[in-house]
Symmetry: C3
Subunit: 350 residues, 3 copies
Amino acid sequence: MADIRSLLKEIDNYKSRMFGKDFLLTWEKSGDELKQILAIADLLKLMRRENISARCFDSGIAVSLFRDNSTRTRFSFASACNLLGLTVQDLDEGKSQIAHGETVRETANMISFLSEVVGIRDDMFLGAGNAYMREVGEALSSGFKQGVLPQRPVVVNLQCDIDHPFQTLADLMTIREEFGKNLRGLKIAVSWAYAPSYAKPMSVPQGLITLMTRFGLDVTLAHPPEYTLMKGPMEYAHRMAEQNGTKFQVVDNMEDAFKNADIVYPKSWGIESLFHNPQEALEISKKYKHWICDEEKMKLAKKHAIYMHCLPADRGYEVTDTVIDGAHSRVFPEAENRLHTAKAVMALTM
Amino acid sequence: MADIRSLLKEIDNYKSRMFGKDFLLTWEKSGDELKQILAIADLLKLMRRENISARCFDSGIAVSLFRDNSTRTRFSFASACNLLGLTVQDLDEGKSQIAHGETVRETANMISFLSEVVGIRDDMFLGAGNAYMREVGEALSSGFKQGVLPQRPVVVNLQCDIDHPFQTLADLMTIREEFGKNLRGLKIAVSWAYAPSYAKPMSVPQGLITLMTRFGLDVTLAHPPEYTLMKGPMEYAHRMAEQNGTKFQVVDNMEDAFKNADIVYPKSWGIESLFHNPQEALEISKKYKHWICDEEKMKLAKKHAIYMHCLPADRGYEVTDTVIDGAHSRVFPEAENRLHTAKAVMALTM
Amino acid sequence: MADIRSLLKEIDNYKSRMFGKDFLLTWEKSGDELKQILAIADLLKLMRRENISARCFDSGIAVSLFRDNSTRTRFSFASACNLLGLTVQDLDEGKSQIAHGETVRETANMISFLSEVVGIRDDMFLGAGNAYMREVGEALSSGFKQGVLPQRPVVVNLQCDIDHPFQTLADLMTIREEFGKNLRGLKIAVSWAYAPSYAKPMSVPQGLITLMTRFGLDVTLAHPPEYTLMKGPMEYAHRMAEQNGTKFQVVDNMEDAFKNADIVYPKSWGIESLFHNPQEALEISKKYKHWICDEEKMKLAKKHAIYMHCLPADRGYEVTDTVIDGAHSRVFPEAENRLHTAKAVMALTM
């Protein structure tokens, strides 16, 4: 229990103003706030190991608003809420009357009278997902100001077009479990990988380059020329590297990124301009089938290097079974940690 | 907390015999019983404002049985149940084996072994919805008498072909918040409005004319000639107006109804005889596109008049954005209050 | 409360090692273990009658993993979990990303980080359902050993291709409520019956012949020549009859099975070799439309004989309304008891 006490002390020392605030992008939060989230996530993980209940609500409602179909994110959000004592109510847009010509303001307020938190996932329309979350947030604020809502629920980002904060915080937590809290000088390779399926969101690589450069890691981003990330996160990552004395560089092949890396994070994503032109996008992607993370490429990384992926991975395309199921892989701790970072953010904002 | 005490005293003073009884139509309940529901709803709203938990069940199951697709009603019922400590289990007929030639009796009993309450929504088949609820109720009673069920869950109407009691009680609650408890002499306009979508249920206007005439309000119903309401609720509304010294009149245009009204409630509904003949119904409805609640028509009502709607509204058809989003609108309090009336009825019957 | 005390004493006396163990087939459990389950189910039923909460979890997650569409099993599992204090999260394979090329190991571990129990129903593929449960179980064990999972959730069988343990234990509980705990010499007729629908699972008759022969009952199995049960359960039932001094015989007509039976359990099932050849299977089944449980056939059984069915029954085909709704029928106690056996197994394994 000594660990619990020292974690509690650490948590107390951070200055944060997250209570009642939405959680939409990691780069809207201070370093102290993110460290506090990580410490609380550590605490919640420890409490779970010691079988101590983290329930802090007697009753209460969490709304999950999904604009795409994601079992895992839904499942993980519901699990996190449940352990805090909240019940999740799913609201699928499109299936519901909600879509019948209502404004966002109306929807947002209708679902929020008795809710503590609204988790939104909307990652399929570039330029739209995060904007939609902000629109919901503003609608709630205005509803609260006008007395429509007795309390203003917190909006949390369960993945948007720009960022995937619970995931990347869980990734950072996993890296700290592996390498300790001082990550300075470690190299992470964030690389594009081939997948035959469809245009996967860009939120994870974008979330990684913007977060890891702030926490001491040297980031190498690798992708074929067509697969550039959004301008905003790229500029932010460059600025953060400069401010924090870390490196952020971009290369055009997986091999260079992997060389001497401590952490490799190869993952498929779509072409920004072709997100809704699957045929052309698929045609281009076929040129890069060799962008697969296999044992050969893992040998380029350091001996103790870890392989990470937010799952689900396209096995046989993004990564071989031997790598994802092998000794380098940390995909399960990442997945578990996502539950703890989600709980931590919710506990801090509500 | 003085308010809470005086509400508790008020609640105590009403004579009611609602415990263990189904809640299917407001006109099956006495005036005292409805006032008690309203007082408890007020209390629950106040408790929510004071952040006092209304949880009264340690664990328990509420079943929601939907015979149509309604996100809002489902959502609102689930929220209300959750705050009382009950978990909702959805049972969608049609999706389930339930539809495979089973009798209502079998279904009703199967879902009720461990349930406290069964909420049913069935509003699409005129003459069928409320009857179905009664059939379920009788099946449960007979199951309980025969020892099949250890306890008999309460059946509550989440909207049927005839009435929408949680909604209209919430509307009455909203009106009392606006005008006080003495509503005598106030005029409410319950008016048909145009909508291009589909045949909307008649339960809300029917519920309004039968409830408001009992609570001191003068009711003016307005609709085009084809859009008559069901005979039963019409006769009951006339009788209640007579018994309670209120007025109930029917006019054939929105303007006359709005004149000097304190409350306007314009809403689309279908033609009783054409509920399942969409083409002919849509053809007729097109003649009445001018039945829209806009700022012009609002000027006919009193200056302080409030605009009400059970949501979702067909914006641009039933009502203009300026009205529904404007100063007259009370649509959000109505929506919030529906949660409190639902909780109040469940707390009183279970 | 004397009953409660004596049940507690009885429960204490049984030797069982079920904690932390999966529950996949009744014949993997000792007689003492099954008796302990039945005693706890009796206790839970009594507690429910006395309105004593059986909640033993403050919070926690139960996962239901369905590989077919079953409202009742899902509903009953969720109810059982809720009353223990667990929240159910549904995971429908096929609807989810889970199906996109992931291995069972990945799925199993992903859903299990914070779960106490994983209930699986998979009955449509002969030779596959129970095997799949074991695969999940092994994946969880290996995940736990490798430190991926902080705890290993228990896997419970909510119906597979081979057995339907919560159902058959509930059936045994119902029979004991009717005839007492000493069932020696009673005759149960497990008979095929005609249904026009589709190839129903063989798990119930297989579960019945393997369980009832262990608890003193003489079992007569009746079916048309094409409708043989699986080899494994048949051999086990023969062995159990021998070991326990009970009878297990097979006849080719419903009448012989019903003669002098104390319990009749007529139910449709499919032809093992034609499970996925509906046309040929339906063609063969038509020859046996007279295999219906009607009042005539009930007269062949003993006067006090009870009629059982796991529901839903194909009324008018498997059984007439007069029988299933009549005095012989025990279908509702069976259904209620299934909730109690499910709770009992979960309470014992977790």
